[in-house]
Amino acid sequence: MTESPLWPLVVYFFAVIALVLIILGLSSLVGPRSTMQRATIEPFESGVVGIGSSQIPISVEFYLIAMFFVIFDLETVYIFAWAVAFFELGLFGYLAISVFILILVVALIYEWKSGALDWGVKKRVGLRE
């Protein structure tokens, strides 16, 4: 490895700090000053006055769906990586990704059957209600 000089990093570090300070300083100097008024802490929603609390109960299924999204979406990333190198990986790669997809399918079936995809009343196998 060749020794690269350290000073650009130091300059960069200070430059970042300086930039942040300048932006904050300018905005407080130049920007409009406002004192605390009744409407200051109101949430601004396109001019409409908000109703009720922002802490509303959300159905737990949303979280489940969000998690599935993360899982299955991340799996696509792997498949993309395989697709890009399709010819280099050849048959072995094809078999490998098939196994991978198979596992995903099995997982999907499991989720389906255990009622994770149902909204509201769950229809699960083998569970007493």
Binding site: F92, I103, V106, A107, I109, Y110, W112, K113, S114, R124, V125, G126, L127, R128
Partner: protein, 483 residues
């Protein structure tokens, strides 16, 4: 990839496919007995799938997996531990409501992670195995709904374990930055090749990996999570954590340090020696203050890991490597038997009480008169932990002594002697409590599966304490094909 190499992956493939099959069974025909049977079959089949390879060792299947005698021995231990924990968990979870099936799937997944760990020869498979083992374990800890602190234990372990994984990753990255390689065999003798500035970064990297591993093994000063997690987690899961998880990580650490030549780094070795002493002392001293059996076992495991670390130190000395690995393997074998047995007693005691695990020393008072057989088993376990003859623990301790003396590590030996002396005190306290007059006359039911686990383990504990030659020969044969 040749047929032989594919064969080397057979255990992993077998276990993975059986997990999938089990998952389907859970999805379509949820039945706890069925699920557990599949678990048992999966573990046995995996064990069987190792046999065709015995004559062809060592095999490297892909750069990630190295299957040699060492890996084989520890795989056996992992499977044994997982099997015993499966039986214990069945009794423990049977009456706990209806959704207990997935627990056994998680157990198999965790076991798969451990199998990958013990045969991994590359940082990638190391991390992969570690995370597979860990993530399933967090869930297993918080799975049962009984006990007050299962969630706390799981969270504590999750967060601290995450931090330690991050340390390991960063350490691996530092090593990669200097060497440009991640395979253990390729990294052999790396500390001789690089320049002085690289040396420092290498040391940093290996120290970080080392810290991560020490956390997982609960060596002092990274032991603080141990008592809380041991106490909070359900008894069978604690057994799994104490044996399979620690055993697999120890096996990996031993392979990592010996093949990559990290063990030759002098400062690291001195650090290890220090850690061993502190662990022995801290584990034994802190155990004195406890009135909770699980916490005593937690601190005792810290001390045991300290004894085990002696093997590391000896492996670093010239000519001590093979002997140290042999000693560590036997010690760990004895530790597996003993710890599994200890937790099976705790499990059996806990099943009687449906709210929380039975862990207070007071609950064990009079066990000798209420359930003489169970008390005798527990006594044998505690004596094995203390390293008293007629038990496997004694031979393990004897091995540690013999390598320590052979390496002339007198200071370390002094700590082992002092630690063992203090240890006797708290083990005898439990035995003494069991001989007191009983507080209640409530009959303790012994569930079938756990009962058999206890019988099998007790017999092996005594058998291999009196006649250890079969295991010693086995280890000797398997270690030949190391590397």
């Amino acid at each position: 990839m040749s047929g032989l190499q594919l064969q080397a992956l057979l255990p992993i493939i077998t276990l993975s496919s059986l997990i999938l099959i089990q998952m389907m069974f859970i999805a379509f025909a949820r039945n706890l007995r069925l699920t557990v049977s599949i678990s048992v079959i999966a573990l046995l089949l995996t064990a069987l799938s190792f046999f065709p390879m015995v004559d062809h060792l060592p095999i490297s299947a892909t750069p990630l997996i190295q299957l040699d005698g060492f890996a084989l021995f520890y795989s056996g231990l992992v499977l044994l531990g997982a099997l015993m924990v499966t039986f214990l968990s069945y009794d423990y979870l049977r009456d706990q409501g209806e959704r207990q099936d997935e627990f056994f799937m998680l157990l198999l997944l965790s076991c798969l992670g451990a199998l990958i760990l013990v045969s991994s020869n590359h940082f990638a498979s190391f991390i992969l195995g570690l995370e597979l083992l860990g993530v399933s374990l967090y869930t297993m800890m918080s799975y049962p709904t009984r006990g007050l602190f299962t969630l706390e234990a799981a969270l504590k372990y999750l967060i601290l374990s995450g931090v330690s994984s991050a340390f390991i990753l960063f350490g691996a990255a530092l090593i990669y930055a200097i060497e440009g390689k991640l395979g253990f065999t390729e990294l052999a003798g790396m500390n001789h090749t690089s320049a002085a500035s690289g040396q420092f970064i290498l040391l940093m990297g290996s120290t970080m990996i080392f810290a991560g591993i020490m956390f997982k093994l609960s060596l002092a000063p990274f032991h603080l999570w141990t008592p809380d997690v041991y106490d909070g987690a359900p008894a069978p899961v604690t057994a799994f954590l104490a044996t399979v998880s620690k055993g697999a990580i120890f096996a990996l650490a031993l392979r990592l340090f010996t093949t990559t030549g990290l063990i030759d780094l002098d400062p690291l070795l001195r650090g290890l020696s220090f850690v061993a002493m502190v662990s022995i002392l801290a584990g034994n001293l802190l155990a004195l203050l406890q009135d909770n059996v699980k916490r005593i076992l937690a601190y005792s495991s810290i001390a045991h890991m300290g004894y085990l670390a002696v093997a590391f130190v000896v492996a670093g000395k010239a000519g001590g490597q093979i002997m140290a690995m042999e000693a560590a393997s036997y010690f760990l074998f004895a530790y597996f038997l003993t710890t599994l047995l200890a937790f099976s007693v705790v499990t059996i005691m806990s099943i009687a009480d449906h709210e929380v695990d039975t862990t207070n020393l007071g609950d064990y008072e009079g066990l000798f008169w209420r359930r003489p057989a169970l008390a005798a088993v527990f006594t044998a376990t505690l004596l094995s932990l203390a390293g008293i003859p007629l038990t496997a623990g004694f031979i393990g301790k004897f091995y540690i002594f013999s390598i320590g003396v052979a390496a002339e590590a007198w200071l370390l030996m002094a700590f082992v002697v002092i630690g063992s002396g203090i240890g006797i005190f708290y083990y005898l306290r439990i035995i003494f409590a069991m001989t007191k007059a009983p507080r209640t006359d409530v009959k303790i039911e012994i569930p079938t599966a756990s009962g058999w686990v206890a019988v099998v383990l007790t017999v092996s504990l005594v058998l291999f304490g009196v006649y250890p030659s079969p295991i010693i020969d086995l280890i000797g044969e398997l270690m030949i094909s190391f590397g």
